[in-house]
């Protein structure tokens, strides 16, 4: 023990004596461990960590998809759920729910929109839910038509009802219908996200007929079953019952996925995967870097080995000294890295739009992070000490002593070091190219030509209850009244109701054809984004109408359906001809077998970006919102110099239409930025990785070149003595390293091109194999490595041939 403490103290003193060296190693490795732990934490939260309601991670979500339209998800009908429940053999538990509902909660003074869900008694049982007060739902309450009952979340009970227990048994207005509070859930019960109210399954206004598709299905796989097998099982059942379901639901393919995927967008998962992959590359690079720095230290203190050997210290003891010193350093780095991760990770989550995140995606200091940090420290120690340890163990003691006497400093690991350098360069190239692609994509996204003006616009989501606005005429009057009132506000130039706002993630999709039978059997000539608007919409967003006219403020509810379409779509439908007065057919929404609707073009608008920011579909069809059945819509209010005050808009709406709840307030710019946040942050982080990796490589090339020069000091002393011009000598020396860098860059560029498909979801308007980015990054890295060779020139110039030769 005493010996160990002595050696530990010795290691500490050695690190202190070589402050600059130790500081470089400590800094680079702490930084890389910090970034790696951050990426690991994100990866763990998204791919490994189970939500509290699913500790085993075997909960599944079942949705359906129409063949040929993989992005259109469909829920299950009561008939399908009933049949699946009876016939399936792969799930141990199986129960329906409606996982996302915007609910209007009526309190004595106002109506508010809250997040809710319909849960069956089976889902609550599956989750092992226990009420804090009151009771859960019964199986009877799963049935349609039973008395509406609700459960309150602990937060809602505390914040909205002041923790008053007498709320139990009382009735609240949910979507204007009285529902009895039967239970209050404990604070730890959160499902599927931060729902405030849970409704019984029977309390579902959308549940009209047994063919109405309303249910998500939550299930638990039997041990040994896979998601694919489960989906195949349900598909077989679907085939058996195809004659019993409506034509529109025939051929639907069930999808069984881990429940955790419900709230995690593809973009988030891809980002986590990319960042984790890059962090692994980064750790490898920094380990190699430490290895190189250790080699310099080892070479510079090489004569010490001979002295130790002469003193009878065993090879294993010498190895132990080195390992201990490096482990001490990497351990300190791991502690610092942990600190970096603890600061960086919560800050990252803070930057993401909260509405897109599941509640379990947050940073927690857990033991596994410490284990990973320790693992990284051990890995780095192993990588860094393998060279020196190998040399000591494989070299005879008398050779070590002879080396000391003659000053020879051969470690015989040039090939090994060059291989590390080539590997480092390859890894840096991968990082650099991925980062370059993402940064370029991010730049493109930030400079999208929108074709409309999103500045100074406040956006709010609105909803109408059937009980308050039972007819289309009532809703129409409300839209007109509220927009008119808002236009009177000082500084407001325009206000409109629209479903949905252009570039919103939830824009509606329609499929079109010039002939009615062009939409038969799920066919179409293309798809476009659909917007329900009033004529003021074009004025508010400054989208010019380039032909024909827009909608009249008093567009009649009956009569032909008119549409305004964008120029690009008009050109696709009737190339080279005027679209005005022509009719075409559309099928709206996800149901591919609903009857096509005929639209007559009355106006053509300029092209603009209408689909989500990362999307490629921007053709648009506008129809009048006054003729629609829309209950939810976006309110857009444009200010003169800045977005209007939210409070003023709320107050005006309160006075004009007090029964319409307003939620999700944002500016239009903010809404667009939120969509791009994940891509932006991923791009920023990869840039940080790439810059850090670039610095590591600078240190790497520096350390390898300097260590080689130190090892070849004698040879260069001779060459200088023989009249070798120092600069030429250096050019030849550095040239060999730049050649290594070129090899590494070529290997890295090849590997980076293989990573392209994984990045596709994060790239906008930039090819996965963009030649310019590949070339710029590759040349930059080669230039960087040439730059990192410069210190070796200084070292070469410092070689004093006289003293060098004298010492030999």
């Amino acid at each position: 023990m005493n010996l160990f403490l002595y050696e530990l103290a010795l290691a500490w003193h050695r690190l202190r004596r070589r402050r600059l060296h130790s500081a470089i190693m400590l800094g680079t490795f702490a930084f890389s461990i910090g970034l790696s732990l951050f990426s690991y934490s994100l990866f763990h939260a998204i791919f490994i960590k189970n939500p509290t309601f699913d500790p085993e991670g075997n909960l599944c979500l079942i949705e359906q998809v129409a063949p040929g339209h993989g992005d259109v998800w469909q829920t299950a009908s009561p008939f399908e759920v009933r049949t699946w429940t009876e016939q399936q053999a792969v799930f141990s538990e199986f129960a329906p729910a409606v996982l996302y509902r915007s609910i209007f909660l009526g309190t004595p003074d106002r109506t508010e929109r809250v997040l809710g869900a319909n849960l069956s008694s089976g889902v609550l049982r599956m989750l092992g839910a226990r009420p804090l007060h009151g009771r859960l739902f019964t199986a009877e309450e799963d049935k349609q038509g039973t008395a509406p009952v609700i459960l309150l979340s602990h937060r809602t009970w505390q914040t909205r009802f002041g923790g008053d227990l007498t709320i139990l048994g009382r009735q609240l207005l949910i979507d204007a219908k009285p529902a009895t509070v039967v239970g209050i859930m404990p604070p730890e019960f959160r499902f599927p996200n931060d729902q405030e109210v849970w409704l019984s399954l029977g309390f579902n206004w959308a549940w009209g007929t047994s063919e109405e598709a309303v249910f998500d299905v939550v299930a638990r796989l039997k041990p040994g079953q896979t998601h694919a097998r489960a989906a195949a099982d349900l598909e077989q059942i679907n085939r058996r019952i195809s004659s019993e379901v409506a034509a529109a639901r025939q051929g639907l393919q069930p999808i069984v996925m881990p429940f955790r995927h419900y709230y995690l967008q593809d973009q988030l998962r891809t980002s986590a995967l990319v960042l984790f992959g890059l962090s692994l590359i980064f750790v490898l690079m920094s380990s190699a870097n430490i290895a190189n720095l250790v080699m310099i230290d080892f070479i510079e203190t090489g004569s010490e080995l001979g002295v130790k050997a002469a003193l009878g210290i065993s090879a294993w003891s010498m190895v132990r000294h080195i390992v201990l010193r490096i482990f001490l350093l990497t351990l300190l780095s791991a502690m610092l890295g942990l600190l970096i991760a603890v600061i960086l990770t919560p800050a990252f989550y803070q930057m993401l739009p909260a509405s897109n995140l599941p509640f379990w995606l947050h940073f927690e200091m857990e033991w596994h992070l410490i284990y990973v940090a320790l693992g990284l420290a051990l890995t780095a120690t192993a990588v860094a000490t393998v060279g020196p340890a190998g040399f000591i163990l494989l070299t005879k003691p008398e050779t070590l002593i002879a080396n000391t006497l003659t000053g020879a400093r051969h470690t015989g690991h040039f090939t090994w070091k060059r291989a590390i350098l080539i590997g480092q360069m390859a890894l840096l190239t991968i990082l650099g190219i991925i980062s370059g692609l993402l940064v370029c994509s991010n730049y493109n996204l930030g400079h999208i030509e929108l074709g409309f003006n999103p500045d100074n616009i406040l956006t709010l989501r609105c909803g109408m209850r059937v009980i308050d606005y039972p007819t289309q005429a009532a809703r129409r009057a409300a839209w007109q009244r509220s927009c008119e009132a808002l236009r009177q506000l000082p500084g407001v130039t325009q206000a409109v109701c629209v479903r949905e706002a252009p570039m919103h993630r939830g824009v509606l999709t329609l499929y079109y054809a010039t002939q009615r039978d062009g939409l038969a059997e799920g066919r179409s000539e293309g798809s476009a984004n659909q917007f329900l608007v009033t004529n003021a919409f074009f004025d508010l967003l400054r989208i010019p109408l380039i032909a024909g006219e827009g909608f009249r403020p008093d567009e009649p509810a009956e009569g032909p359906n008119y549409a305004v379409i964008t120029r690009g779509l008009a050109e696709k439908l009737w190339p080279g001809k005027s679209a005005l007065g022509r009719s075409f057919f559309v099928r709206v929404g996800t149901n591919l077998r609903t009857a096509p609707q005929e639209l007559i073009v009355k106006g053509v608008a300029a092209d603009f970006r209408s689909g989500p920011a990362m999307g490629n579909r921007h053709d648009a069809v506008f129809t009048s919102i006054l003729k629609s059945e829309a209950m939810f819509y976006d309110l857009l209010v444009r200010g003169e110099q800045a977005p209007p005050s939210l409070e003023a808009v709320r107050e005006t709406m309160r006075q004009t239409e007090p029964k319409i709840p307003l939620y999700f307030p944002n500016t239009y710019r903010g809404m667009l930025q939120d969509q791009l946040k994940m891509v932006e942050l991923t791009s920023l982080l990869t840039l940080v990785y790439a810059v850090a990796a670039g610095l590591l490589c600078l240190v790497g090339v520096y350390s390898v070149t300097v260590s080689q020069l130190l090892q070849q000091k004698r040879e260069y002393g001779i060459r200088l003595a023989l009249g070798g011009p120092p600069f030429n000598l250096w050019l030849r020396f550095a040239g060999s390293y730049v050649a290594n860098a070129v090899v590494g860059v070529a290997v890295g560029a090849g590997l980076a091109s293989l990573c392209g498909p994984m990045l596709a979801a994060l790239l906008y308007n930039v090819g996965q194999n963009d030649a310019a980015i590949f070339a710029i990054i590759s040349l930059g890295i080669i230039g960087l490595s040439a730059l990192a060779c410069l210190p070796s020139l200084v070292r070469l110039l410092r070689i004093d041939p006289a003293s060098c030769l004298r010492s030999l």
Binding site: R714, L722, L805
Partner: protein, 237 residues
């Protein structure tokens, strides 16, 4: 022997500063060496022999004084110019041979010529001739580690000769050799001298110093004695 010396040192001093301590390695050295002379610089360990040789070989610069090589002052030339002169005018023979282990015997001899930008054919011809001159032509493709100490030193002499330098500087050329091989190397230098080469040899061994025509004794960085040896003087005529 011409009247103007090949090497002329005037009041050359060299002071090393280490940890604020001044060490006077050389103090006011005056030394003229004419073309074709064979001069031994002798003296006890630490007297400044190697420092003097480093200055003569332009491996180091004097702190003070002037150094004329072929009538040209060289004491304060830039690094690259010193390297150029070293490459063309000076041939080195070191105590520990200082051959590059990764290069063959031939490549070692050829090395200084490559820095002159000499055409390959001429380079190879001169390297081969130098190896033949020292009797090592048959070992051209060997690595230094495959040779004995005496053979390695002969290769080092060939390397020094290959460029036809104005002066050969030998630093304890027999220091790492046994007496037989030492004697052989000294005979080789004597042969070269007889062929017209200018040689300056540092040695602490008075037996070998007597191979030279003239010996310069240093003590504490000063020239304390100069001798001319008849046998060598005769042979130099």
């Amino acid at each position: 022997m011409s009247n103007s010396p090949l090497i002329a040192l005037d009041a050359v001093t060299k002071v090393f500063l280490t940890d604020e301590v001044e060490t006077h390695a050389l103090s006011g050295i005056h030394l003229d060496i004419h073309k074709g002379e064979y001069v031994a610089i002798a003296g006890p360990s630490g007297c400044g022999k190697s420092t003097l040789l480093s200055i003569l070989g332009l491996l180091d610069t004097p702190t003070d004084g002037t150094y004329l090589l072929n009538g040209r002052p060289v004491q304060s030339l830039a690094l690259a110019e010193r390297a150029r002169i070293r490459n063309r005018e000076i041939g080195f023979i070191f105590q520990s041979f200082n051959l590059i282990g990764d290069l063959t015997v031939f490549e070692n001899v050829e090395l200084p010529l490559t820095y002159r930008g000499m055409p390959a054919a001429e380079r190879k011809q001169r390297a081969q001739a130098a190896l033949e001159q020292v009797g090592m032509g048959h070992r051209a493709k060997h690595l230094p580690s495959q040779l004995s100490g005496g053979q390695q030193q002969r290769v080092a002499v060939a390397r020094a000769l290959a460029g036809s330098p104005a002066v050969l500087l030998a630093d304890e050329p027999t220091g790492n050799l046994d007496s037989k091989n030492g004697e052989a190397v000294m005979n080789l230098l004597a042969d070269l001298h007889r062929g017209g080469a200018t040689i300056v040899m540092v040695t602490h061994d008075t037996r070998f110093a007597r191979h030279a025509a003239r010996s310069v004794h240093l003590f504490d960085g000063r020239v304390v004695e100069e001798n001319a040896f008849t046998k060598a003087a005769e042979s130099s005529l």
